[in-house]
């Protein structure tokens, strides 16, 4: 059984005089179990130079409704350019309603549970070259 740890630290001074400091660690486990996740897609990077929506995580590689997770990061530094991230065949915000999760600007990262039932796609906001780093932790 493998052990994979993930920790997050969020610090903010948004509320004057009341600093926000969130620090949590977790062990990535199988659904409803104390056993750790044992499989991964491996850490991948992919360069994009068009705004076309592209599948980066294919649902048919994973078992549905478990406790898989994926990590994703826009490795760039631009705070104007971003990737849409969607749980759908398209990642355009305007026409995919609730399936568009959000936007990753330069340096932004995300780590979320993944049901494994639908593809994860991304769509760059620009045709300028951008690089995405991602990894799936699989049950």
């Amino acid at each position: 059984m493998a052990t994979t740890n993930a920790s997050i630290t969020i610090a903010s001074d948004i509320i004057s005089g009341v600093p926000i400091n969130i620090s949590k660690s977790m062990v990535m486990r199988k659904l409803g179990s104390s056993d750790g996740l044992e499989e991964t897609s491996g850490l991948r990077t992919k360069k994009f130079s068009a705004t076309t929506a592209t599948v980066v995580i294919e649902q048919d590689e994973f078992t549905d409704t478990k406790a898989s997770k994926f990590y994703m990061r826009n490795t760039g530094s631009s705070k104007a350019d971003f990737f849409y991230v969607a749980k759908h065949a398209s990642a355009a915000a305007s026409d995919t309603a609730a399936v568009t999760i959000g936007k990753l600007y330069g340096g932004d990262w995300m780590l979320v549970p993944y049901l494994g039932d639908v593809n994860i796609t991304v769509a760059p906001s620009t045709a300028e070259t951008m690089t995405l780093e991602f990894m799936v932790f699989v049950e």
């Binding site: 609730a98 999760i101 959000g102 993944y114």
Partner: protein, 141 residues
């Protein structure tokens, strides 16, 4: 201007035998498409019970297609208890006991609330923080 940072560390010695994993990243949260830090936050703690169906954690009352961030942690220590996290009718995934998530949220439409639902039995404590570019308070009843 407020400054909010989010850092992650993911490590494993044995997930990929012979190749220890160490991912470290940090980001500073900005308002949509700018270098101005986020200035709105909603932070709290609650308890979910299995008897209730999915509940809205936060409604999509800000400007659509903007930069917002969501943190949710399942504080249960019972490994059989997990939280389904969704955006409107789309389930993002299952958040197990002791697990957290960090994700962008662009409020693609006005229906795109963040919702959570307890699975299996008992009461599940959770905490959350939502950092926003914009937000409109609900209308008075």
């Amino acid at each position: 201007m407020a400054t909010t940072t989010a850092a992650v560390s993911i490590t494993s010695e044995d997930l990929m035998p012979g190749m220890p994993l160490a991912i470290n990243a940090i980001s500073t949260l900005m308002q949509t498409g700018t270098t101005t830090g986020l200035e709105l936050v909603d932070i709290g703690y609650g308890k979910l019970t299995e008897a209730s169906s999915a509940d809205s954690l936060h409604e999509a009352l800000g400007t659509l297609d903007t930069a917002n961030w969501v943190y949710i942690c399942n504080n249960s220590t019972d490994q059989s208890q997990y939280i389904k996290v969704g955006i409107h009718d789309t389930v993002i995934g299952n958040l197990g006991a002791g697990e957290w998530l960090w994700m962008p949220w662009n409020m693609g439409t006005a229906d795109n609330e963040i919702n959570i639902e307890a699975e299996t039995s008992g009461t599940i404590p959770y905490d959350y923080a939502i950092f926003k570019s914009t937000y409109t308070l609900p209308a008075k009843t």
